[in-house]
Symmetry: C2
Subunit: 147 residues, 2 copies
Amino acid sequence: MTEKLHLEDLNPGDVFKSGEYTLEADEIKTFARQYDPQPFHLDEEAARDTFFQGLAASGWHTCAITMRLFVESVPIAGGLIGAGSDVAWSQPTRPGDVLHVVSTILDITPSRSKPDRGIVTIQSDTVNQRDELCQRAVSRVLAFRRG
Amino acid sequence: MTEKLHLEDLNPGDVFKSGEYTLEADEIKTFARQYDPQPFHLDEEAARDTFFQGLAASGWHTCAITMRLFVESVPIAGGLIGAGSDVAWSQPTRPGDVLHVVSTILDITPSRSKPDRGIVTIQSDTVNQRDELCQRAVSRVLAFRRG
């Protein structure tokens, strides 16, 4: 078990690399049926003549997988509690993709009103098996001081 | 079936209001087990002594539900294809919440390189049954001209 990290343990430039997540067609369709029911996320045949030219995961599905890998790789004490995130999708994730996430701390801002905490700005890049960037998310996450 | 909207049909200030989505505790836990396995999203008892003081949905789960309501309420021709989104969570969504989404077009930018398309900037507010804002997402979505 990794020691949990507090605000004072974190520094701009710190990098966390996640494990891998293999995305299958069935999972793409299951997520889409419930949360993003559009032809290019639901069915290979229907996806062929769309913008994506083949089955592609919902961008929000890529976000969800990224969170899973983020939770497993960035051990902040008290958990990963987000205030917000700026997400950009440079290309879709696809069936058979093996994804990992590289998270880099960009900035740390201590709270002015609450001295026990601060906001950590973290960039999380979601990368496929060809080292292509699929998604970049810059998130604002809460972290607490020790004690 | 609503007529599908093209780039030239959309104007800043246009508002789209979605139907409702009822969020249950089981769905919060199912999503969290797969994509955001943290105590405050997984179990009422374990959530009690955390920052959220009770079971709360993952912010990414709120994003996913927002997308569902967005797809059902904003009929853009060719589908809703996002380039990115800036999401801010002002409060969590909870078991029993009845959510809806109000989407407002903020801006339309025709593409310089591809005259058949443009980027529509849309603010989607996810609101609960007490009219409290839970999430604001400002998304960049592709739209195409007719023909």
